[in-house]
Amino acid sequence: MLFILLRQSFTNQMKAMFLMFLSVAMGTAVSASLVAISLDVQGKVSRELRSFGANITIEPKVEGLAGLAGQRRFLSEEDIPKAKTIFWRHNIIGLTPFLELEALLEVAHSGATSKRKVMGAWFDHSIMLPGESEPFDAGVSSVMPWWEVSGSAPGEGEALVGVSLAQELGIKSGDTVRLMGRDLRVSGTLSTGGAEDGLLVLNLNELQSLSGNEGALTRVMVSALTTPMDEFAYKDPDTMSKVEYEKWYCTGYVTSIAKQLEEVFGGSRVKPIWRVAETEGRVLERLTVLVYLLTLAALVAAALGMSTTLAASVLRRLDEIALMKAVGADRMGISIIFLAETFIIGLAGGLVGYLISLAAAHYIGVEVFGSALDQKGILLPASILSALGISSLAAWLPIRRALMVKPAVVLKEVH
């Protein structure tokens, strides 16, 4: 009996049912896609923020005035793969080593000589990590994507000239410069908008062997995904209790990652680049809150929109309810018919809405961040359940009111 009534109700009122279904599906679609975005926005945006450059530097420890006075101490190149063995190794998305020295530079065609800063860096350099099958990109571009090389990266017997230095000394591509007794061909110019514009840049390993500092480094720049610093993170680790220290150590704060890097790099001092780390944390936090609040607003709007459509549809069938009552249906029976109807609509609308949200969130993820959003499976039951809940509630309130009135009154009013 119930089944026949339901089937008739759907076939007789195709249009009305379709409209209710459409409203539920759209409400669910917009809510579910916004929830999907808000669940993954932190991960995606923090990756985008890494384009602002390294947030951790590793330098040799300075001891005494000698360190400041330029008596160099070095980091060891052998320690680099160890950076990917720390607790937060997966958060380290880029790192690149440098060796900086001062040396006498002679320009071949003019004969000018002057003492200049020379830097060794890795270009297009991958390292193999223990226990990993994929090589890890440790080139400059993994951390400093804004470095612009016109010409080609320096290979064996070649050097790159910073644009300011090139201008000052009148060097261009193809010229020859002499450094530490070796002739180097200028393979191109480097423009970074920073201090590197005044440097001569060589391949790291070439500079190491030229200067007799095999395997030595003066700086490693690290780009790591971090958890925004909160009040707890600013506590001095030395004054923490054992439990607190463990919590701090196992949270991906920029300070705890720095601490872990310091443990694996011999003779190092590892510091967060505070300007980058703090700004990043704040931007991330604010954007996340923004998306959460917008999602909340959309959820409320969707719930209200769905319930008005459903309430309108039920209200319009008041006379039907009265008629049912008049021919002897009990309140229970009528409620079941109407609730079963909305149940089917809620189920179908929730499912279709979820599917639409999958497509919408995927499209937005690819379009904005270049990679699909991490869609949580929990959203399927969540969208169907909330669609069911809202539509039942929205239908239940007018039905209850309808059930309370006397059939004669309603029927007289309508006709």
């Binding site: 249009k15 009305a16 409209l19 209710m20 459409l22 409203s23 759209m26 409400g27 917009v30 896609s33 916004l34 975005i37 945006v45 985008e48 384009s51 602002f52 450059g53 951790i56 530097t57 420890k61 300075v62 005494g64 005035l65 360190g67 400041l68 400093m144 804004w146 423009s191 908008g193 920073g194 510091k271 680049i273 505070w274 300007r275 980058v276 780390a277 703090e278 700004t279 704040r282 604010r286 954007l287 809150v289 923004l290 609040l293 917008l294 607003a297 959309a298 709007a301 929109g305 008005t308 459509t309 309430a311 309108a312 549809s313 209200l315 319009r316 499209y363 937005i364 379009e367 904005v368």
Partner: protein
């Protein structure tokens, strides 16, 4: 005699006032749909401004230097009148002989050249500070963490720079060149380095959009200076802001589409409800045109009411969201008011016309019988 027009108005007024429930439901759904669309669009328009403000903390995006030094007053005049410049600060670099002038026990046994930076030390962000920031002209110094470690300095101690004593009030760790330097207020540094009225660099923060024009302007105004854009900040900022704007724009489009579809189904549902009324109108001699005009006017009235209410609600929602996320309200452009009203009117009129056209084609008797 009552004219045709008066009849029409009376009819419309009755329809709107006598069945308050139905009109309320329709207006309410227009309000909700317009509100969410207006707040999403308003937020996506204002996000660049708000986030740009946050990104300022990444620091200057233009740096003006001169090997011989810049004249501070000249540079200040040029920069403060330059359009597109948000803010700027001056720094003076030098090298001084330093020794720790502490107690007799840690008597100065070593003297070394240390980098000195003269700057406006009023930034509270971007570094980890132990102690406090020095006061201007009080003979106080801020010391980078590397210098602190190298000289084994302690808070409350003193440092001798070029024979002059400075008390140590704070240590900073920044992760940059400042860590290996001693920082003084710019005027103090100018006195100590004997370079009054001179600065080594101006760090300029310009609006990311018009960076090239600002660079050109500074080049013309300060001919001796070398002007560079800090590409790291400038480019990353432009790309980042673009992506976030795109995200908000796409979210707005999704919201707009879903709200329009959902709203038109609500409006259609309320018109379906009135098919019998249409049948009755036709039966007593209403022309198709007359009935059509009647429904369009009704839809317009609902659209306008809901659109205005929705705009106001949307503005409030956008303000609340912005207050929650950025701590300051956002100004929703007024152009969204006509846009919101238009959205409400178009959807409610179209949504009521579609089922209406179907109904107008039928015979009144069929509709009235309820088939």
């Amino acid at each position: 005699m009552v004219s045709r027009r008066q009849w029409f108005m009376r009819f419309l007024l009755r329809s709107l006032t006598q069945r308050v429930g139905r009109v309320a439901v329709a207006t309410f759904s227009v309000t909700i749909a317009v509100a969410i669309v207006v707040s999403a669009l308003g937020l996506s328009r204002g996000i660049r401004d708000k986030l740009g403000h946050e990104l300022k903390a990444y620091g200057a995006n233009i740096i003006v230097t001169s090997p011989a030094g810049l004249d501070q007053r000249e540079a200040e005049e040029a920069l403060s009148t330059m359009p597109g410049v948000d803010e700027f600060t001056f720094q003076l670099y030098g090298s001084v002989m330093a020794g720790s002038a502490g107690s007799a026990v840690s008597a100065v046994s070593e003297v070394a050249a240390i980098e000195l930076i003269g700057m406006d030390i009023d930034e509270s962000k971007g570094w980890k500070l132990a102690g406090r920031l020095p006061l201007k002209g009080a003979g106080e110094a801020l010391v980078g963490s590397d210098v602190q470690a190298a000289l084994n300095l302690e808070l409350g101690g003193a440092l001798e720079l070029e024979g002059e004593k400075f008390s140590l009030v704070g240590f900073v760790e920044r992760g940059g060149p400042e860590d290996g330097a001693v920082m003084l207020w710019l005027p103090d540094a100018q006195v100590l380095l004997e370079r009054p009225g001179t600065v080594s660099a101006a760090l300029v923060r310009a609006e990311p959009g018009g960076l090239e024009e600002v660079v050109g302007g500074i080049r013309r105004a300060l001919s001796v200076a070398e002007v560079k854009t800090l590409r790291q900040v400038a480019r990353a900022e432009e790309i980042f802001l673009g992506k976030i704007e795109l995200l908000m724009g796409l979210v707005s489009i999704v919201v707009l589409l879903a709200a329009s579809i959902s709203l038109s189904s609500t409006m259609s549902a309320t018109v379906l409800e009135r098919l019998k009324e249409i049948g009755l109108m036709k039966a007593i001699g209403g022309t198709r045109r007359g009935i059509g005009v009647f429904f369009v006017s009704e839809g317009t009235a609902i659209g306008v009411m809901g659109g205005v209410a929705g705009y106001l609600l949307g503005v409030l929602a956008a303000m609340a969201v912005s207050k929650g996320a950025f701590g300051s309200i956002i100004i929703v452009p007024a152009v969204l008011l006509p846009l919101g009203v238009a959205l409400g009117v178009v959807i409610s009129v179209v949504a009521s016309l579609v089922p209406l056209l179907g109904a107008l084609r039928c015979k009144p008797s069929v509709i009235l019988r309820g088939e």
